[in-house]
Symmetry: C2
């Protein structure tokens, strides 16, 4: 039986402690050296050796005192603070990688769309089409406060804002320079064709951007678009714009239901069901026997910081778990939004009630597979059958978690056709969507701006300025 | 006689055509391939082989139709459009260089200071202290229009804005994290000391930024600061903030006067005269005899586009030179601001009156030395005697202009002690200011924020947000 291959990303973050908090203290974990390029070059080499599709960098642009009413835990544990700029790191990795995609998170809060579009186009040019963007709207007060606001922008307003942001960057990436605008004709002395380069004259609620875009079209034009919205509005946004969505379904059944729903929304938006890839977050502990794997998992768990896990989840849920005894059953708290994780825990541990501590560990433990390469591959086939297209693999320690996966699991996946043995030629998008030609499909909303702008208007008589129309 | 060495930068731009317009058509010029990383890696390798201090990237974030009332010439000649993001390129070059400084231009218009500070700190971390920033305020209407404005912000207001921008980034770079904030203590499980990390609570005319900075202190904290302001207000700004100023004095006498004046302003600002390095723009044509050099120069000039030179100068001066016959004497036009260049031309060409065409070529020809390595070294000694500390070397073609300089002129300069034979250890700043320890001096305005912030206030009771004070 022939299966499609899984899309495989190393899901990481330019921080000391990303998901498996406390593990930064592990003597073999290089993530403590987040400021050293060598840490990330080593990771990129392992990922490229394993024919991973991409490194996928999470990001935050601020941190709230969400645990115990303070930020002490975050700072003591290096829990996403410091948090270095992932785009700058991805740019640095372009020159030491050849095929690996470089996907980074960037918030609409943190950069003006004109500059962001320019940066991404430059990176896509330099990498020959290997850039991906995970679109976020920022969910912390501190992020908002770093950019002039009093507090986080209301959820729906954030998504309206994001819609306009997408509009601006689509106009720049897809519409400002027509196909064939660059002639690069040394003989004729003509670099570009002025009739094929356009101002965009965008005027909206949040932005006014005249253009033109400052970078000639890169191989992908628009980078590969990821979005991870889980709310109703967020899922609508992802179904409309995203090519990949990062999901953390707590169970295979949940994945099957959630993916089917989301694909239906994409189809209602005029896209095809398989225009949207579902990339499940997951971590692995691998042994040559099940017993060895369990023993390794127990060794890893000795390094885990409960307080770190609880602080992370407190921030994500906006509920301060420090107020509860870790042993308290979830049903006795007013904590909402974790029912899925609680149910999965209870299914896996018959007779036990999920406690606060189990919720704190949900992101880490419920998304972890422990076993032999073969048993892991078996379980991944079940996830694939539920509709999952790929994995965002979370490290327990860097780079050991990825090295183990590449050495032991990848060969088994390759044997089954679940992992690629070589990179296909072309851009990141062409590898995720074979046959796409590397550009967004005509049915994607960005495509409406192709050829949408007129040859440049006559400019102002002053000779030094153009006017808004 | 022992002379100080010259600071040497390759002054370039992530464009097809930077200063020597028309030369992009030269079959050996790789600048046409601006989108290929290989173009820039080759340049970086040559610069590092020649023990250059840095690559220094110019930038623009918009282009006005300043020549013939249109932007046709700019687009046809690739004249600074496309213009790719120089910071992204510098980041990509971090991993393929070891000692070379990477200095890029960034406008206060184009990026929010919180994000800019984070990006620069990340790059300074990854490069182990090799980042420089050329501060600009943007002088085109189109740049303003790409960021929501109707037209360029008035000159004095731009500098007020720049003052606030500097304030924000200084607070983040110098004040937000105290020395010793990072403990990275695996045994104790303490990554950082919460009492040594501070919010900055900046509230000003243009920005409100709460902080803390998201990146731990890099080796330089503040990158090496360049600024090239030539107006009165611009020179005040440079004298206060800059460590290097990029100058294009048309003559040695002009340099001597201008540098003495500028150093006096620095001293009035509480700095030392030699806290500010003067880096003169210059290009070179090198031959084994004077005749060969002149012949090579003539060959290069056959590729030059008069229209490109005139369009460049028109944009810089805000006067459309297309309205004048190139043969018209300057004194018959209303063109101002080029008297220095006109006088230098007339001194060099007794009996001739400077024409419009001579002004159009001023940036290219008046800043060009043609000769043997020895005669060039002799003339550079004269510039040094006038107070010039170093050179921003402008390419006629890439990378040939730099290869010629490194192969033929550098050995002669090294022989005379005018160029370094090896890189000194340390950061970019330590190499420019030996003995500085790599940080800005206490008398620099950024230093006022060291230790200026209090241990973090108790945060809001809600547990999810901090409030503005």
């Amino acid at each position: 039986m022939s299966r499609p291959r899984l899309i495989l990303n190393a899901f990481t973050m330019n921080v000391v402690s990303h998901v498996y908090h406390g593990l930064w203290r592990h003597p073999e974990n290089t993530q403590l050296h987040l400021n050293d390029l060598e840490t990330w070059i080593e990771l990129a080499r392992i990922a490229e050796e394993g024919k991973f599709d991409a490194l996928f960098f999470a990001d935050v642009v601020g941190i709230d005192p969400a645990y115990n009413g303070s930020w002490d835990t975050y700072i003591r544990e290096g829990l996403q603070i410091p948090c270095n700029d992932p785009a700058a790191l991805c740019a640095a990795l372009i020159s030491v990688t050849e095929n690996l995609g470089l996907t980074f998170t960037s918030s609409i809060l943190s950069e003006h769309p004109f500059s962001f579009a320019r940066k991404v186009s430059t990176m896509d040019q330099l990498s020959k089409g290997r850039i991906g963007w995970n679109i976020v709207t920022s969910v912390s007060h501190n992020a908002a406060q770093n950019y002039g606001l009093d507090e986080i922008v209301a959820h729906d307003r954030r998504y309206e804002w994001a819609e306009e942001y997408m509009d601006v960057v689509y106009k720049l990436w897809e519409g400002s320079w027509d196909e064939g605008a660059v002639l690069a004709d040394r003989e004729a002395g003509v670099y570009a064709d002025k009739d094929k380069i356009h101002r965009i004259y965008h005027q909206g609620e949040s932005y006014r951007v005249m253009g033109p875009h400052l970078v000639a079209p890169s191989r992908q034009r628009t980078p590969v678009l990821y979005q991870a919205g889980a709310s109703g509005r967020g899922r609508e946004f992802a179904a409309k714009h995203a090519e990949g969505t990062f999901v953390v379904f707590p169970s295979i059944d949940g994945a099957r239901r959630g993916i089917a729903e989301q694909r239906a929304i994409a189809v209602r938006n005029g896209r095809r069901a398989d225009d949207l890839k579902f990339i499940q977050g997951m971590s692995f502990v691998i042994g040559s026997t099940e017993e060895e794997a369990q023993r390794k998992a127990a060794e890893i768990d000795e390094w885990v910081s409960y307080e770190g896990l609880a602080a992370h989840i407190s921030r994500d849920m906006g509920i301060d778990l420090a107020q509860f005894d870790p042993e308290m059953p979830i049903e006795q708290t007013d904590v909402v939004g974790v029912q899925g994780f609680a149910r999965v825990f209870e299914d896996a541990n018959p007779g036990k009630k999920a406690r606060v501590a189990d919720v704190a560990g949900a992101l880490s433990y419920n998304l972890r597979m422990v076993g032999t390469p073969e048993s892991i591959a078996d379980r991944l086939e079940q996830w694939q059958d539920a509709g999952v297209d790929g994995l965002n693999i979370i490290a327990q320690h860097l780079p050991g978690s990825y090295r183990d996966f590449v050495e032991h699991v990848i060969p088994v996946l390759q044997e089954r056709g679940l992992a690629q043995r070589e990179y296909a030629p072309g851009t990141l998008r062409e590898r995720l969507f074979p046959g796409s030609g590397g550009r967004l499909a005509e049915r994607h909303p960005a495509a409406q701006y192709r050829g949408a702008f007129q040859a440049e208007d006559v400019l102002s008589a002053s000779g030094t300025g153009a006017a808004w129309r």
